[in-house]
């Protein structure tokens, strides 16, 4: 392998990309605008969940209960006149939950009897509905036990002298539960994955469709040199993108902490891009035309993103699928990237994901290169 030849090949790839201004524009957008909207865009916790209450009891206890459904989790919108109106508001998606407090709520509790509260939730928004149910139960349960203790003459003050177990809850690595940390890093990783497969695969098929690949292959260039040059060029572009996102957006704008070594992160990112690009070569080797590449990329891409565990924890998946996540390079890179940024993981902590990623990368590259040779020899 001649280093000069290799450099020239990489340079050719970069020139080719840089002359397509729309590609450059969208790659920059992917690492800035897109990450920005995603990072600040989503509240995964419950915020201002719209709710309505029908209070048939009109007592001090019922009013206290309603008052506890407060910001930032809940936002009381309107008092519907009837249960029908409440259900209609839930139907239309205006409210996430509705609460009905029955007659005799306070007196039942004062006499040591059970009272029942009806919660209506919009099950078509399953994830937030279950969060809302959790918070609602916490609030209602809290009031219930206070009322019980009040009944036997214990006030809130006495509770400091009671055998109560209290919880000191701490959220590690992100104590203020800032969602933009997760959203921003996650989006950057997804963009890296998508482009790391699509860029080299498309570049290879372009040569093939235009027939220029024949020219390259009759030259002294070895086939694997050509493949490696394509991968190297996309690695350069994408690492530039990751640098852009990290230093222009994540750190200065969203104050994402960097608890580990950024050098380690970018080194791992380069390995990740290489791994995914190897997969891109495999994809390209099965295709003859660009439309085929784009569909194949989707088929390969989507499972990699969704099996990565950022959204769906592997331990909640069916067994065979949880095992399949081992094959998703993004799963390992998630552990590495979140580990370095938020957990302060060192190289020693990241041995397993790093090894797995390198093994996958080697397998993918070897597979893609063999396929490629077979087509051209």
């Amino acid at each position: 392998m001649s280093l000069r030849r290799f450099r020239a090949l990489v340079w050719k790839e970069l020139l080719e990309l840089s002359r397509d201004s729309i590609v450059i524009l969208f790659v920059i957008y992917a690492f800035t605008g897109d990450i920005f909207t995603a990072a600040q865009g989503f509240h995964l916790e419950l915020t201002n969940a719209a709710m309505s209450v029908i209070d048939y009891d009109h007592s001090a206890a019922s009013r206290e209960l309603v008052a506890r459904f407060a910001a930032p989790y809940f936002s009381l919108r309107k008092t519907p006149a009837s249960e029908r109106e409440m259900l209609k508001r839930l139907d239309s998606g205006a409210d996430l939950l509705g609460i009905v407090i029955p007659h005799g709520f306070q007196s039942d509790l004062e006499h040591g009897q059970h009272a029942a509260i009806q919660l209506f939730l919009d099950g078509s928004r399953a994830t937030h509905a279950s969060l809302a149910e959790g918070y609602a139960r916490e609030i209602i349960g809290g009031l219930g036990s206070e009322m019980s203790m009040r009944r036997i003459g214990l006030t809130a003050l006495d509770q400091n002298r009671m055998p109560m177990v209290e919880a000191a809850l701490r959220v590690r690595f992100n104590p203020n539960r800032r969602e933009e940390f997760f959203n921003g890093i996650n989006e950057m990783l997804i963009m890296l994955s998508v482009l790391a497969i699509a860029l080299p695969a498309s570049a290879l098929i372009r040569e093939r469709e235009h027939g220029t690949i024949e020219q390259l292959l009759v030259s002294p260039i070895e086939p694997w040199e050509l493949l490696l040059a394509k991968i190297a060029a996309s690695t350069v572009v994408l690492i530039f993108g990751a640098l852009l996102a990290t230093f222009c957006l994540l750190i200065p704008f969203f104050h994402v902490p960097v608890r580990g070594s950024l050098g380690l992160f970018f080194a791992c990112a380069a390995i990740f891009v290489f791994t995914m690009a190897g997969l891109g070569l495999v994809v390209a080797s099965f295709c003859r035309t660009m439309p085929q590449v784009s569909m194949m990329t989707l088929i390969v891409m989507a499972p990699i993103i969704f099996l990565s565990g950022a959204w769906t924890p592997p331990e909640a998946m069916p067994g065979w699928l949880a095992e399949a996540t081992v094959l998703s390079p993004l799963r390992w890179f998630n552990e590495i990237a979140f580990g370095i940024f938020l957990r302060g993981a060192s190289l020693g902590d990241l041995q397993r994901p790093l090894t797995m990623m390198i093994v996958l990368g080697a397998v993918f590259f070897a597979w893609g290169a063999t396929q490629f040779r077979r087509h051209f020899r």
Partner: protein
């Protein structure tokens, strides 16, 4: 507009598609594979949360407290008696997502009638999981704390004290058992039907530009509108077939109830796939290279179709800016129609706004596509 010419162009494109050896994979295979993978794999249920305990007390009470966590399928106990260093390492490697620290003298403090504090540490790295874990951990803690307190009160006073006198009766509308499958699987339809028609269509025109066959169009009597609409038609047919096929799969394979009107669903999906193929048309008309079309189509469909459609995150939980962005993609409106017909059985007039907006998308995308497609060398 001459409809014979539109049909001729549509026929030409169809024939090209039919002669692609990978057409079955491209047209039906990709949506099917995505549907099966996500349908089975994309469970947002948080179960088997791995956790570890540092128990400084080693008493019956501390074990009872921990058992409340370990005794159901929400939590999986990894280590019941870890050291502080071990727990720290496990958290840093991401092996556990919850750590419980029971203080020394836990049982004795409570026995003397004084409050004791247990530390709960939640791994906050993956925001959504952290939020759920936090909720489950607090609920389990509450149960354990109430049990301990009422047991102590009963020992002292001889009276049983019910600390949970208020019963909460929950009813989930549209989805009685809160099967996440019932919302996630229909939610996949608009997502898949945004990605596949858009990505397929993105290359349709730009490909002719790059390979030179667009000169056939330059020299033909067909107008730009006829060319664009003719090109679009086969992709709409493919998308629509997929909508019906995947809809059927959702009911048969995943057991999601279909409560609404099939006619509204079909009409809605026809409008929706026309709009999403329109995204591809738009990309195809302004991008210069196939490589560019490929990259642009991926960037503007993969992430928005999942994040901005309201499937994973309800629109109401988005920031103002992102809410605006969500309205710029057809995904959200398609999701409203799918959820409206599958789960809610909404009447047509409740979804008119969604239909109208999708119609507007079609007009804008088509107009832009027609204007931007060249009729001569540029």
């Amino acid at each position: 507009m001459n409809f014979r010419r539109v049909l001729a162009i549509a026929r030409l494109e169809t024939r090209l598609l039919r002669r692609d050896p990978m057409i079955v994979l491209r047209a039906i295979g990709t949506p099917l594979v995505l549907m099966l993978l996500f349908g089975y794999g994309l469970s947002l249920d948080v179960e088997h949360i791995p956790f570890a305990v540092i128990d400084y007390d080693h008493s019956a009470t501390s074990r009872d407290y921990i058992y409340t966590f370990a005794g159901n399928r929400t939590f999986d106990l990894v280590s019941a008696d870890a050291s502080e260093r071990e727990v720290e390492a496990m958290l840093r490697r991401g092996d556990i997502r919850l750590a419980i620290i029971v203080p020394p003298q836990f049982e004795r403090t409570l026995y003397h009638g004084l409050p004791a504090t247990v530390q709960l540490m939640v791994d906050g790295v993956y925001a959504f999981r952290a939020e759920i874990t936090r909720g489950y951990a607090l609920a389990a803690h509450e149960r354990a704390a109430d049990d301990i307190l009422s047991a102590r009160i009963q020992e002292r006073t001889g009276h049983a004290l019910d600390l949970q006198p208020i019963e909460v009766r929950t009813r989930y509308l549209f989805n009685e058992n809160l099967r996440t499958t019932n919302t996630i699987v229909p939610g996949l339809l608009p997502m898949i039907l945004m990605m596949t028609p858009a990505v397929m269509m993105a290359l349709a025109i730009v490909r002719e530009k790059e390979l030179g066959s667009i000169y056939n169009f330059f020299s033909s009597p067909a107008t730009r509108a006829e060319f664009v609409i003719g090109k679009l038609m086969p992709y709409i047919v493919i998308g629509f077939t997929n909508a019906l096929f995947l809809g059927l799969l959702t009911v048969i394979l995943f057991g999601v109830p279909f409560k609404g009107s099939l006619a509204i669903y079909a009409a809605g999906m026809l409008v929706y796939v026309t709009a999403t193929a329109g995204i591809g048309l738009l990309v195809s008309s302004f991008v210069k290279s196939q490589l560019g079309a490929n990259i642009v189509a991926m960037i503007i469909t993969i992430v928005p179709s999942a994040l901005y459609s309201g499937m994973l995150i309800p629109i109401s939980s988005m920031s103002p800016l992102t809410r605006v962005v969500a309205h710029l993609f057809p995904g959200m409106f398609g999701n409203n129609i799918v959820i409206g017909t599958f789960l809610k059985n909404l009447p047509l007039r409740a979804m008119l706004a969604d239909f109208a907006t999708l119609g507007l998308f079609i007009i804008v995308f088509m107009a832009a596509g027609i204007v931007l497609t060249p009729k001569r060398e540029r």
